[in-house]
């Protein structure tokens, strides 16, 4: 797992987040109705004076090609990730909280940095 750089955590109202026009080159992952993980550093305007927008250094990640992702999820994911592409899902994988960004070709597996070592040990075992 590698440190996931250029991550912003954005906390705002669901309405403000829905109204925000995030640039296309950003990967915007909806962690919660009031929270986004934004990967990329292109500026954007959020219509909320109280929004929290901070750099977040707490994530590790790794891209898996489709076959490796299938293998990983078959052996470590007790729930069925969405079949649509692209899609975002989050839940327990290998007993740890994980976020999945699935595209046609590959899957980005994002793990909180505090569990990165444990995750690598569990999936490589």
């Amino acid at each position: 797992m590698e440190q996931l750089d250029d991550v912003l955590r954005v906390v705002s109202t669901p309405e403000a987040l829905a109204a925000t026009d995030f640039p296309d080159d950003l990967l915007v992952l909806p962690l919660a109705p009031d929270e986004r993980m934004v990967v990329g550093m292109t500026p954007f305007v959020l219509p909320d004076p109280h929004a929290i927008v901070v750099r977040d250094a707490g994530w590790s990640a790794r891209w898996f090609d489709s076959a490796d992702a299938d293998s990983l999820l078959t052996t470590h994911c007790p729930w069925e990730p969405p079949s649509e592409r692209p899609s975002f899902a989050q839940g327990m994988v290998a007993g740890l909280p994980v976020k999945l960004w699935q595209t046609e070709e590959r899957t980005l597996v994002i793990v909180p940095h505090v569990f990165a070592t444990e995750f690598a040990e569990r999936v490589d075992r």
């Binding site: 929290i52 977040d56 250094a57 569990f115």
Partner: protein, 722 residues
């Protein structure tokens, strides 16, 4: 013979391609359990043995070619556990989803599977004879299957049970002999070319009992009419009963039973008048009679009372006889007892496949601590360095020079919004309005009953945002607490838990200011102040605190800069003889200051007054806050026990040691340490009010302890405020 073999009880047993272990043993004239009717259907426990170190394996459903060593179970006893140093690898687990799971690959199962596929449903078929044993059906439904490759957990929409029917086993005198076969077993042996010798065949109506020789082999069958047939083996045909246990594990409407499992009318055998009715648990008819007389008159009760049906075959042999036993006495046929997973024996590894222990979180400095040789311990859900090898030296570094400690584990939350101050006023018992920008304050978190469940800091930023800290391990609970309450109050707030993404290093000791100045912190905050500054090129939120009792600066920063910051502090700190300190030293340092650890020094019902933290509750503020009414009410009640300091001239025995005055229980110690700075033992602990008052001295494990205020070291706080 194929020339291939496995080892059985020290001898070589050859097998043919496709043989099961049991079939190979039978070719060599071996009965793996010594006796009992063989069914070759996986329905009984008469062929179980230890296969490659795993006990209770049904040899009739184990392919011989996959096996190296087979051992019989010891006669009359349980097989021994495998040695600890011979622990097999944990089995893999595979998670699958499908529309239909078909259990049983016979004609009806295959047909059902084909029909489902024709309807464009996704279908998985599992058959024990192909090495895929279904172990249980769980809510969902989820089907758990043991395969040679992995434990397979399948979530599905529906289940088709096509498991066929089991043959009734004889429960008569002599049914423990070798040489007895069900009709299916005789067919299997015949197809394999195994000669049963002079074989007699009996039906249910004909069977009386069996006779055998001194070696436990059958020599004759005695018919119900008294006639006697000399033989080498007996083929029993006593009827059949549906194998529907897996279907009965499923929830209503989840499973469809097809084929013989649905169509066979269960045979209710004649109730035996004596002998063993459940071979697995060695339950006799006499024992059942005794239980029946005592009121155990239903299947479930009889099962629990006798343990019949709870053994290896899970009622495969005895369940029909339990029915006939009760029908004989009650005149009514009762339904089968509840079926629950597991249907087969599993190893602990198989049972745990896919399960994980809760993981302890690691700070961004975890690898650094390990490189430094720290003894790592799990504390508050985190891996933390207990000591780097010399706690006394770590302690002295803090008290005499300068030290660094990893406090990244502290809960860290940002909260803002137009209602943020109102929300915090209701969440905390302090007057938040009086915390100025750039200042912070120690705070308690109270629950509705006024009990302390966490503590930490509130820091007000210049932009109206607040930064909150909590105990290590307390952040998640605190975040939920804040979210729940502010949502129910309808507050306009934003909240972000930054515990996992921010590191924090405590730079503490009388030379801390000099060290940080060397690294660029020219204008450090005053006591309980905070600021944003660059330290060694790393942007930090700097808090001036005093948990250790010395001059202390907590440097909060992005977690991916932690190693860089730690290394810079270590390098620059060499000029000050810096040494890092672990949790062992930290706990001793904070105890000398009388700083509590919530959860260790507090109890489930600790009010601010009981822990002598009434000063942290502002009842004069004009806001209601969580726990206010309880604090006001309990403040009027005399305190019956309180958290106090103890000191003694000799070390205290251990945390948790009880305190006594004479024969009266007077409390217990929650934190103990020997204070090098003070030359005496210090402790926090609970003191009970005795008949007259709180005692001034107590005895703890033979040591006289004086009750004192808990601020042992630098009670004026001049060192931390320096």
């Amino acid at each position: 013979m194929s020339g291939e073999s496995f080892e059985y009880d020290g001898r070589s047993v050859e097998f043919e391609a496709g043989d099961s272990v049991l079939l190979a043993l039978q070719r060599s004239g071996i009965h793996p359990t010594g006796g009992g009717t063989l069914c070759f259907g996986g329905d009984c426990a008469n062929c179980v043995c230890t296969v490659d170190g795993v006990s209770y394996v049904r040899s009739c459903q184990t392919e011989a070619a996959t096996v190296t060593t087979v051992c019989p179970h010891p006669a009359g006893g349980a097989p021994s556990l495998p040695p600890l140093d011979d622990r097999p690898e944990a089995p893999a687990v595979e998670y699958m989803t499908t529309s239909v799971v078909v259990i049983g690959g016979g004609m009806s199962g295959t047909s059902a599977g084909a029909a489902a596929e024709a309807a464009e449903e996704r279908v998985l078929v599992f058959d024990a004879n192909d090495g895929a044993e279904v172990l249980g059906v769980y809510p969902g439904p989820m089907v758990v299957v043991r395969t040679p490759a992995a434990m397979v957990h399948v979530e599905c929409e529906r289940i088709v049970v096509a498991t066929g029917a089991a043959e009734i086993q004889p429960v008569v005198r002599g049914s423990e002999l070798a040489g007895l076969y069900t009709r299916n077993a005789a067919d299997v042996l015949s197809r394999a070319g195994i000669d049963l010798g002079a074989a007699a065949a009996v039906t249910a109506d004909e069977l009386g009992h069996f006779e055998g020789d001194d070696e436990g082999r059958v020599t004759a069958v005695v018919r119900a009419d008294g006639s006697r047939l000399q033989c080498n083996s007996v083929i029993v045909d006593l009827g059949r009963t549906p194998r529907d246990a897996l279907a009965r594990m499923a929830g209503p409407g989840e499973a469809t039973v097809v084929g013989q499992a649905a169509s066979v009318v269960p045979t209710i055998p004649n109730c035996p008048s004596s002998g063993v009715i459940c071979p697995c648990s060695n339950v006799t008819v006499g024992q059942l009679d005794d239980l029946y007389e005592r009121g155990f008159t239903h299947m479930e009760l009889l099962k629990r009372g006798s343990l019949a049906g709870t053994g290896t075959c899970q009622g495969g042999v005895c369940a029909p006889y339990l029915k006939s036993f009760l029908a004989d006495r009650g005149g009514k046929l009762q339904p089968a007892f509840t079926a629950r997973p597991l249907a087969r024996q599993v190893t602990l590894g198989e049972l745990a496949a896919g399960s994980h222990l809760p993981a302890a979180t690691r700070t961004a400095l975890d690898a650094v601590h390990r490189r430094l040789g720290a003894q790592m311990e799990r504390i508050g859900g985190w891996w933390r360095p207990w000591t780097y090898g010399d706690t006394d030296a770590e302690y002295r570094a803090v008290r005499e020079r300068v030290s660094i400690g990893d406090v990244s584990t502290l809960g860290k939350v940002i909260i803002t919004g137009s209602d943020v101050e109102e929300a915090l006023q209701r969440l905390y018992p302090t007057d938040v309005a009086t915390i100025k920008p750039g200042r912070s304050r120690y705070v308690l978190l109270l629950d509705e009953r006024g009990f302390v469940f966490d503590d930490g800091l509130i820091a007000r930023e210049h932009d109206g945002t607040f930064f909150l800290t909590f105990t290590s391990g307390g952040a998640s609970m605190a975040e939920m607490w804040i979210r729940d309450w502010t949502a129910s109050w309808g507050n306009d707030i934003r909240i972000l838990n930054r515990t996992w993404s921010m590191g924090a290093i405590n730079v503490t000791g009388p030379l801390a200011r000099e060290l940080l100045a060397d690294l660029g912190l020219i204008d450090p905050p005053s006591f309980m102040g905070h600021t944003v500054a660059t330290v060694a090129g790393v942007e930090c939120k700097v808090f001036r605190l005093g948990f250790t009792g010395e001059l202390s600066f907590e440097l909060h920063h992005d977690a991916d800069r932690s190693e860089e910051l730690w290394d810079a502090l270590t390098e620059a700190g060499a000029a000050y003889d810096l040494a890092p300190h672990g949790i062992d030293a930290l706990f001793r340092l904070r105890l000398e200051k009388g700083h509590i650890l919530v959860g260790q020094d507090t109890d489930y019902d600790s009010t601010p007054h009981r822990i002598q933290h009434g000063w942290a509750v502002n009842l004069n503020k004009p806001h209601d806050f969580i726990g206010r009414h309880a604090v006001e009410r309990t403040a009027k009640i005399p305190v019956n026990r309180k958290l106090v300091g103890f000191e003694a001239d000799k070390p205290f025995a251990f945390e948790g040691a009880t305190a006594w005055r004479g024969d009266d229980y007077a409390g217990y110690l929650t934190s103990v340490a020997w204070s090098p700075a003070l030359g005496k033992a210090v402790a926090l602990g609970w003191l009970e009010r005795l008949v007259d008052d709180f005692p001034d001295t107590v005895i703890v494990e033979g040591v006289e302890a004086r009750v004192v205020p808990p601020h042992f070291y630098d009670p004026e706080g001049t060192r931390a405020r320096a």
